[in-house]
C-alpha cells in the first residue's frame, strides 16, 4: 500500500460527520496553525512542501499564495474551485462526498494563511447533493466553533459559504468562476489583472482546487519538508487519480506521485487491468484536454524509460511523445475503441462548452465537431484530416483562456498518433459502417460480474 494522506479514512463509517472526523484527527491543522503559527509560517510550509495545483495546471501553490496582493483595508478572498467538469475527472466529488470536513478544514487553514475573512466554495451545479453534504458539514463546523467569530479563541474569524453553479465547464477557469460567483455569465476575464491583484468583487483573491486546499491540512500537520519527501523530484506528495474507461476497477485512487503507469493500470491495488482481458490501445492521462497517448508511449517514454505518474514523467517528450498529468482524469481505452469516435465525443464536448467570447474558440470548436461528425458518419473527405489539423493549430494559443488549447490538444494528439485510423475512416467508410466502436452496457456489466 502506498502512502495515503487525503482519503485514507474514506471507508470509516460516519466520517462525513464532524464527530468522527475529529476522532480520526481532523482539524488538527487548524489548531496547529492558529495556535502556533503566523499566517506567513503557513505559507512558508506550503512553499516548502512543493505542493502544485491539483486542478490541472500544476502551478506551485505556495508561489500562487505569495503573489496575493495585500493592501491595507481591502478584503481578500479564498475561493475553492469545486467546479470539477473535466471529462474523466471525478476525484473532487469523491473527496467532498466522503470526507467533506477535509475540505472545510483546508479552507480554514488556507484562509488563515491568506488573511481571508470570507471564503466561497464554488461547486458545479450538477453536484447538488454534494453541495448539500458540504453545507451540512459547514453547519456542524459553525456549531463547534471551527467557523465563525474568534475561532479557537484567537482573533481569527472566518465565514465559509457554498455557491452552486449552473452547469458550465468554462467556470472551472478561475476568472470565469469568479464571474459566475458574482452572478454573471461565466465568461473568462481578460488577464491581466490576475485574480491575485483583482479577483472576486475586484479584491485580491486566490482560487484553488478542492484537492489542493485539502492537501494543505496534511502539509501543516506533518510539516512542509516532510511532505516534500513523498513523491518524486518536483512532483511531491500524493495525488488523487480518477480512473475510468475500459478497466476492471474504475474509481478514485490516491497514489504517491512517481508510481509507474504500468503498475497503476495493471496492479490489483489500482485499476486491475483491462476488462475482459483485452489489450490496451490508448490512455488519456490527465483529463480530456491532455494529449491522448498510445500504449507504447504511455507505458514507456520515447527514451525507453518507464513512464511514471508524475508531472515531469508524463510530460516527458513534450506533446510529440508525451502528455500531461493534468487534473488526474485517467481514461483507459482498450483495443476495440475507435479513437476517431472518441475524439468526436471530446470535440462535441468542447463545442458545447465554449463560452463564445472569442472568435477562434467560438467558431473553431464548432467547425471541428462538424468535421469529425462527418468523418464518424462515413462522409469524411481525405482533405478533412489536414483541415482538422490546421484548425486546431489555429485555435491553439490564439484564445483568451485555455479552453481553446484544451479543445485543440486532443485533436492534435489523436491525429498525430492515430492518423492511420482517420485515414481508414475517410478512405473506407464502408468498413466502419455498422461497427459499434464501444462496449454495450450488457458487456460491461457482464465483465464486472
Amino acid at each position: 500500500m502506498g502512502i495515503k494522506l487525503l482519503i485514507h479514512n474514506d471507508k470509516v463509517p460516519g466520517i462525513e460527520t464532524l464527530a468522527v472526523y475529529r476522532q480520526m484527527g481532523g482539524y488538527a491543522s487548524v489548531e496547529k496553525a492558529l495556535k502556533t503559527m503566523t499566517p506567513n509560517d503557513v505559507v512558508e510550509e506550503v512553499k516548502k512542501s512543493g505542493l502544485r495545483g491539483r486542478g490541472g495546471a500544476g502551478f506551485p501553490t505556495g508561489m500562487k499564495w505569495s503573489f496575493l496582493f495585500k493592501p491595507e483595508g481591502v478584503e481578500r478572498y479564498l475561493v475553492c474551485n469545486a467546479d470539477e467538469s473535466e471529462p474523466g475527472t471525478f476525484k473532487d466529488r469523491y473527496l467532498m462526498e466522503k470526507i467533506p470536513h477535509a475540505l472545510i478544514e483546508g479552507m480554514i487553514t488556507s484562509s488563515y494563511a491568506l488573511g481571508a475573512k470570507t471564503s466561497y466554495i464554488y461547486i458545479r451545479g450538477e453536484y447538488f447533493y454534494v453541495a448539500r453534504i458540504l453545507e451540512k458539514a459547514i453547519e456542524e463546523a459553525y456549531a463547534a466553533g471551527w467557523l465563525g467569530k474568534n475561532i479557537l479563541g484567537t482573533d481569527f474569524s472566518h465565514d465559509c459559504f457554498v455557491q452552486v453553479g449552473g452547469g458550465a465547464y468554462i467556470c472551472g477557469e478561475e476568472t470565469a468562476l469568479l464571474e459566475s460567483l458574482e452572478g454573471k455569465r461565466g465568461n473568462p476575464r481578460i488577464k491581466p489583472p490576475f485574480p491575485a491583484i483583482a479577483g472576486l468583487y475586484g479584491c485580491p483573491t486566490v482560487v484553488n482546487n478542492v484537492e489542493t486546499i485539502a492537501t494543505v491540512c496534511p502539509i501543516i500537520n506533518m510539516g512542509g519538508e516532510e511532505y516534500a519527501k513523498i513523491g518524486i523530484g518536483k512532483s511531491t506528495g500524493t495525488k488523487l487519480i480518477s480512473a475510468s474507461g475500459h478497466i476492471n476497477k474504475p474509481g478514485v485512487y490516491e497514489i504517491e506521485l512517481g508510481l509507474p503507469v504500468e503498475e497503476f493500470i495493471y496492479s490489483d491495488e489500482y485499476c486491475g487491468g483491462i476488462i475482459n482481458g483485452r489489450k490496451m490501445k490508448a490512455v488519456v492521462a490527465g483529463g480530456s484536454s491532455v494529449p491522448i497517448l498510445p500504449t507504447e508511449l504511455i507505458l514507456k517514454t520515447a527514451k525507453g524509460e518507464p513512464r511514471l505518474m508524475s508531472y515531469e514523467s508524463l510530460s516527458d517528450g513534450g506533446f510529440l511523445t508525451g502528455s500531461m498529468l493534468g487534473s488526474g482524469g485517467f481514461i483507459v481505452y482498450d483495443e476495440t475503441t475507435s479513437i476517431v469516435k472518441n475524439l468526436y465525443t471530446f470535440a462535441r464536448f468542447y463545442h458545447h462548452e465554449s463560452c463564445g467570447q472569442c472568435s477562434p474558440c467560438r467558431e473553431g470548436t464548432g467547425w471541428m465537431e462538424k468535421i469529425l461528425h462527418r468523418i464518424v458518419e462515413g462522409h469524411g473527405k481525405p482533405s478533412d484530416i489536414d483541415l482538422l489539423w490546421d484548425i486546431q493549430r489555429k485555435i491553439e494559443g490564439n484564445t483568451i483562456c485555455p479552453l481553446g488549447d484544451a479543445a485543440a490538444w486532443p485533436v492534435a494528439s489523436a491525429i498525430r498518433h492515430f492518423r492511420a485510423e482517420f485515414e481508414e475512416y475517410v478512405n473506407h467508410p464502408e468498413r466502419i459502417k455498422d461497427v459499434k466502436h464501444y462496449y454495450s452496457v450488457q458487456q460491461v456489466s457482464e465483465a464486472q460480474l
Binding site: 453545507e135 452552486v164 449552473g166 452572478g183 454573471k184 474507461g245 475500459h246 474504475p250 462548452e353
Partner: protein, 193 residues
C-alpha cells in the same frame, strides 16, 4: 445544421402576478443574498434561479426570470443572459422528470449510447423530446463527473450510476410511481441556511 434560436419570446404580464415565492422560500432567498458583501447580492442569482426553477414548474419562463430580477433588484436582461448561458436552466418547459444522460468519452466507452437508445425505445420519444403525459424528457448532456461509475444519468438532484438496461427500466418505474424528481429544493435545502 441551422441554428435558428429562440428569437423573441412572448411575455404575459398576467402570469407575472401569479409568480411569487412563498414566505418560507423568500426567507431562504434573503438569507442567501446576505452571504455576499453589501451591494454584491447579485452573486446569489445562480442559486436563486435554481430555486425558482424548482418552484415554478421546472423551467424558467420569461415571467419567472422577470420576477427573479425584481427580487434581486437587477435588470431583467441580466437574468436572461445568465439563465441562457448555463446548461442547467431550462428555458422551455420540460417533463416532470428530466433524464439527463451523460455521453462524453468515459460514459460513451461503457455504453451511454445504448442507454439513450433504450430510453428512446421505452418512452417512444426522441432525445430532446417530452412524453405526451408530460412525465419524462430525455436530454443528452456532457460530462457530469461520474466517469468512474459510467454509464450514468442524472434526474433532478439524483445521480443514477453504473446503469444497466434493467436498472434503467426499474428507474423509470420508480419515477413513474413517485410522479416527480428530487429537485434542488427537495434536498431539504432551506432548513439548513
Amino acid at each position: 445544421m441551422s441554428t435558428q434560436l429562440n428569437g423573441a419570446q412572448t411575455f404575459d404580464k398576467n402570469k407575472l402576478t401569479k409568480i411569487v415565492f412563498s414566505d418560507d422560500t423568500m426567507q431562504t432567498v434573503q438569507k442567501m443574498m446576505k452571504r455576499y458583501p453589501e451591494g454584491k447580492h447579485k452573486s446569489a442569482l445562480l442559486p436563486i434561479l435554481h430555486i425558482a426553477q424548482a418552484e415554478f414548474g421546472g423551467w424558467l419562463s420569461p415571467e419567472t426570470m422577470d420576477y427573479v430580477a425584481s427580487v434581486l433588484n437587477i435588470k431583467p436582461i441580466e437574468v436572461y443572459e445568465v439563465a441562457s448561458f448555463y446548461s442547467m436552466y431550462n428555458l422551455k418547459p420540460v417533463g416532470k422528470c428530466l433524464l439527463e444522460v451523460c455521453r462524453t468519452s468515459s460514459c460513451w466507452t461503457r455504453g451511454a449510447e445504448d442507454v439513450v437508445k433504450h430510453l428512446e425505445k421505452k418512452l417512444g420519444i426522441k432525445e430532446g423530446e417530452t412524453t405526451k403525459d408530460g412525465m419524462f424528457t430525455i436530454k443528452t448532456v456532457e460530462c457530469l463527473g461520474s466517469c468512474g461509475s459510467a454509464p450514468m444519468l442524472q434526474c433532478g438532484a439524483s445521480y443514477h450510476e453504473n446503469l444497466t438496461l434493467e436498472k434503467v427500466d426499474a428507474l423509470l418505474e420508480n419515477y413513474r410511481k413517485a410522479g416527480k424528481q428530487r429537485s434542488y429544493t427537495d434536498l431539504d435545502y432551506k432548513n439548513t441556511l
